[in-house]
């Protein structure tokens, strides 16, 4: 191996996990390598164009997986510097305190984490500062305690303020949704974010969304000891003869040749499905079931949210530009006449005519006499998330040719259906047409449930028992001394809020551990807030 390819830490993947970890380690002076299979996401006007992003799928990376029946599908993955966060809505929630314990659900048990919320609180505080989270602590009764949000909440536009008022009048607890963006509403000319209508699900052309590229990878690269190689897909991890340490990271480079890299520490941060894939593909004599997989848990317990995008029709027009400002957690732990957790309700980015199915009004099935523009002008868009439970049979395996096979069935559709019915029953009180709550597949052009792999988690769960978990508390493989997995793979349960902030907070936590292990230190981090006006 080329001596230049030796590093203190090799991080495979640059998303919320790997990118954030690299940002934490960068000031230490240690030699750090980011390996990213994708490229930089191009900055171009198409970033803002709905048809290109949502219909032509311009930023969905070519990859093919198979489902449980062996049918191929294209997962909605984004292989770019910054990973899945390039396209996310930057909804940066903490898991609830109760999510760290065992929770009884309609479909079974959501297992406890090996530590409690109190052990994560300080890392959440740091992650919120790093990711420029705007919010209002105390509005959401289910939210656990923490430092005040580092930035004020993103304000509601009038129709959403009305919705908030209506919800409050009906006895609910609407709150300002936590959101990571470089917005300063008190000083618009100097605000990087312009509150545009192309935020949720779009890459930000202005680099004003707090994604891992902008917040973590680019600042990390300011340090001379940090290197990024794009177009480098890690395909196998080789170990020493005893199988106790990773000695080589084999990557397929853009031109097709293979190159090897070495790190005293190797961190796998490829996203839950691809992290499991890399470990499974790295089976050897000492690890016949896949690297670090004596527990047979690698790839199992794949979770993603049982999510629904739904559209309601407002009686009054809804001219909102930036809609993702409100959420409701009143049904997070139970609902009326339902003693189990239902989930989280939040706003989506405002839908647009280009997204809707059907060229003529009647084809949309929404409101047959309305044009697509009428619908868009009255649409109020919600996102309902219910917790998915870990099931051993929901798993990532490898086909003979190395293709990912994702076998998945939701743990239960009942809580999601109850949450849908709950919102539907409320519409009349919220200034919306009764009985018009339309699920995504009824109106969006693109909707393939299993292909929506956002919020994937759980394939390398952590725990204290090496017989039932892949990673120890530090997110290090039980069986491999220098191998870490730092993305959402470690989640033993996923809760019902967006997992990105937890992925970032955990990366900071593991980063602190690695600094200690490497006998390194970094300056205090006052620059985190200052740098992100």
């Amino acid at each position: 191996m080329n001596a230049a390819n030796r590093y203190d830490v090799v991080i495979i993947g640059t998303g919320a996990g790997g990118g954030t970890l690299g940002r934490v380690l960068a000031p230490s002076g240690k030699r750090i390598l980011f390996l990213e299979r994708g490229t930089w996401l191009p900055r171009e006007i198409q970033n803002w164009l709905t048809a290109d992003v949502f219909v032509e799928n311009r930023y969905i990376s070519p990859d093919t997986w198979r489902d449980k029946d062996g049918e191929t599908f294209q997962p909605q993955v984004h292989y770019f510097v910054g990973g899945a966060t390039k396209m996310y809505g930057a909804a940066l929630y903490r898991l609830r305190r109760e999510d760290f314990g065992e929770l009884r659900h309609y479909g079974g048990i959501s297992p406890a984490w090996p530590f409690g919320y109190d052990d994560m609180e300080a890392y959440y505080d740091r992650a919120e500062r790093l990711y420029v989270v705007h919010g209002a602590r105390g509005e959401d009764p289910t939210e656990p305690p923490g430092a005040p949000y580092p930035f004020p909440p993103v304000s509601h536009e009038p129709r959403i303020q009305q919705l908030s008022d209506d919800l409050a009048r009906a006895g609910y607890h609407p709150f300002h949704a936590p959101c990571g963006l470089m917005l300063d509403e008190s000083d618009p000319p100097f605000s990087l974010c312009i509150r545009c209508d192309a935020f949720d699900g779009y890459p930000c052309l202005l680099h004003a969304k707090a994604d891992a590229e902008v917040i973590a990878v680019r600042p990390a690269l300011e340090y001379r000891n940090v290197t990024l190689i794009t177009g480098a897909e890690a395909v196998k991890l080789n170990t020493n003869a005893a199988g106790t340490a990773v000695t080589e990271v084999v990557a397929r480079m853009g031109d097709g040749r293979q190159e090897t890299f070495a790190g005293d520490i190797v961190v796998v941060s490829c996203g839950a499905a691809n992290s499991a894939r890399l470990l499974l593909a790295s089976a050897n004599d000492r690890h016949p079931n896949g690297l670090g997989n004596a527990s047979d848990q690698v790839g199992r317990n794949y979770m993603f949210h049982n999510s629904q995008a739904v559209l309601a029709l407002s009686m009054e027009p809804n001219p909102t530009v930036f809609q993702k400002t409100l959420a409701v957690n009143d049904f997070y732990f139970e609902g009326p006449d339902f003693e189990y957790p239902m989930g989280n309700i939040q706003m989506l980015g405002k839908s647009k005519p280009e997204m809707y199915r059907g060229e003529r009004p009647g084809e949309t099935r929404l409101a047959p006499t309305w044009s697509l523009r009428d619908i868009a002008n009255h649409a109020v868009d919600f996102w309902l998330s219910s917790e998915d439970l870990p099931r051993p049979d929901n798993r990532v395996t490898l086909e003979q040719d190395g293709t990912v096979r994702l076998s998945y069935e939701p743990s239960s559709d009942v809580p999601a259906a109850r949450l849908f019915e709950q919102l539907k029953s409320m519409l009349g009180h919220l200034g919306m047409h009764r009985d018009h709550l339309l699920p995504r597949h009824a109106y969006l052009k693109t909707a393939i449930p299993i292909a929506g792999v956002a919020h994937q988690a759980g394939t390398c769960r952590f725990g204290t028992n090496s017989a039932t978990s892949v990673l120890n508390i530090d997110c290090r493989a039980h069986e491999v001394d220098n191998l870490y997995v730092v993305d959402t793979s470690f989640f033993p349960s996923i809760g019902a809020v967006n997992p990105a902030l937890t992925a970032a907070a955990n990366a900071i936590r593991v980063g602190d551990h690695l600094l200690e292990r490497l006998h390194a230190s970094t300056p205090a981090e006052p620059e985190l807030v200052e740098a992100n006006r």
């Binding site: 006007i45 803002w48 618009p188 000319p189 312009i194 545009c196 192309a198 202005l206």
Partner: protein, 93 residues
Amino acid sequence: MTRYDVIIIGTGAGGGTLARHLAPSGKNILLLERGDWLPREIDNWRADAVFIDNRYISPDTSYDSAGKSFPPQIPADALTSGHGGWHDPWVTQ
């Protein structure tokens, strides 16, 4: 009345650059700008908004030598026809 060391009227290539040069001196400098901040929006990038709808042409009126009013922009036909209101010495000479 507020007093300044330097008042610069206009924030373009001349006034803006001058202010940038003077700023580190610590002198009290006032920039007066008749316009507003140019909005940052997707229309910045749209040819039809910029060149056809003239989205960023500020409302104002000027008068030519014959006393005819015209907006302070270059009409599309000015450069080829040689008449149309805009007397640009670099073009008409």
